[in-house]
């Protein structure tokens, strides 16, 4: 939580920090943006949308941006030739409890520049909606479904926002939220009854079930004539 842990191993001696000590979502001391070219550029270009910057675990740069401008900023980070964060490594969410806003986290990696950046968006508990980044990275499709399933964040413009891990008719809520009881909201008997009532055939939507039912045509590229000797 402090910037003292310049070396990652220093934190081992200090021991674990209780999560309460994190305090407000922006508890981390603001760090020097010039240490990361993308962060400096973000502060230059989106000074009204970038609210906070901190360094976590020694060298992980974390940027907080306004939730309603996430697609604009992430799209710029992906497409700008100076940055090119073309790999979305993870979309996840953190709930620190206590009525604090949920944090949707985008973990970016730039293959050309070999550079990592973590972008956070804060979502108040009564307005859990954010624009989907699936148009930017197809990877986000299932990752956002997972966040929706476990945290209840609605991604606007997502092509197929369904539960992905929990049963499709799960009625107890979103399990990774801090206000979710450890053993669920229903009794074990009710959970068992509902589990056995699931229709296994409905685990998949019709479009998924149709895959493989009909012979799929595989079009091979025309073989170049006379080049077979050059292979292998």
């Amino acid at each position: 939580m402090t910037q003292d842990n310049v070396n990652g191993l220093d934190g081992v001696d200090a021991g674990p920090v209780p999560s309460d000590a994190a305090g407000s979502p922006e508890a981390g001391a603001p760090a020097d943006p010039s240490g990361h070219p993308s962060v400096a550029a973000l502060f230059d270009r989106f000074s009204d949308a970038v609210t906070h910057h901190e360094i976590s675990a020694g060298d992980e740069h974390v940027v907080h941006v306004l939730a309603d401008r996430n697609v604009e900023i992430l799209g710029w980070l992906k497409d700008d030739p100076e940055h090119r964060y073309d790999l979305l490594r993870d979309v996840t969410c953190v709930d620190h409890g206590g009525g604090e806003p949920l944090r949707v986290v985008y973990q970016l990696w730039s293959i050309p520049h070999r550079r990592a950046l973590r972008v956070r968006c804060l979502l108040e508990l009564d307005a859990l909606e954010i624009d989907s980044v699936t148009p930017l990275w197809n990877t986000a499709n299932w990752l956002e479904r997972e966040v929706y399933d476990l945290f209840g964040v609605t991604f606007r413009g997502h092509p197929d926002l369904r539960r992905i891990l929990m049963p499709h008719d799960y009625a107890e809520g979103h399990p990774l939220r801090k206000d979710f009881p450890l053993r669920g909201r229903f009794s074990r008997a009710e959970q068992t009854r509902r589990a056995l009532e699931q229709d296994v055939d409905r685990f998949y939507i019709p479009a998924e079930r149709a895959v493989g039912r009909e012979p799929q045509e595989v079009t091979l590229a025309a073989e170049p004539s006379g080049d077979s000797e050059t292979e292998g």
Binding site: R185, S187, Q198
Partner: protein, 226 residues
């Protein structure tokens, strides 16, 4: 019971060549042959969901070699299986799959619950886990361990063989009838399943059953202070 026994009688009392109250030469010999054949060629249906399945694979492999006990062939289709080996934790989403596989297996069939998670839910006393597969399917042998060593699984399967050896068609004839109306229904009663959700989970419930107090039956909350 009104069931027509193979030997012509209607119950263990009223006779028939196979239904006589005391074992006859014929029934004992038929039992011996049938049970020998059954226990010497048990085909397991491996239902491996977690780390217990690794130990199960080790038990099937050369060092331990379940083939020595007539389990030469893994039956990956429940239609040709005799023993369901449930190795690993079972989430609620998988419960109907496990139950359907059990319903698809033909009689006679047996079930081994391998490891702590399959038997009780183990450490996963959470919203997503079945607290013991015996709430879903009937279990013959529980193999304890986390995970059990291959010797443990082999011992459990040999207990199944011993169970088969002691069966007799005169006494166990209708033991294996299944009620079609109960297909895909919870096997344990609501009271039993609810008892699994005590404030501190299964371990406390077992302590309570051993004389430590009343079994919690209806708690669905997570309030540890109450």
């Amino acid at each position: 019971m009104g069931v027509e026994l193979p030997g012509g009688g209607t119950s263990a009392r009223t006779g028939g060549i196979l239904g006589a109250g005391s074992p006859t030469f014929l029934t004992t010999k038929v039992d011996y042959v049938v049970n020998w054949a059954r226990r010497s060629s048990l085909w397991p249906m491996p239902f491996g969901t977690a780390c217990c399945a690794i130990e199960m694979m080790a038990a099937f492999a050369t060092d331990f070699d379940l083939s020595r006990f007539g389990m030469e062939r893994m039956s990956f289709s429940p239609r040709q299986a005799d023993v369901l080996i449930c190795a690993g934790r079972v989430p609620y989403k998988l419960a109907p799959v496990l139950r359907r596989i059990w319903d698809q297996m033909p009689q006679p069939k047996w079930c081994v619950s391998m490891g702590a998670c399959a038997s009780t839910g183990g450490v996963f006393d959470v919203y997503s886990m079945v607290q013991g597969i015996d709430t879903i399917v009937p279990v013959d042998v529980y193999v304890p361990g986390c995970p059990p060593r291959p010797e443990g699984l082999i011992y459990g399967l040999m207990m199944i063989q011993e169970k088969v050896r002691r069966e007799t068609i005169t006494r166990h004839y209708d033991l294996r009838e299944e009620d079609p109306a109960r297909v895909a229904m919870p096997r344990a009663s609501e009271h039993e399943i609810a008892g699994l959700a005590g404030p501190f989970g299964n371990s406390t419930r077992q302590n309570q059953l051993a004389g430590g107090g009343e079994v919690a039956t209806t708690t669905g909350s997570d309030d540890l202070d109450s």
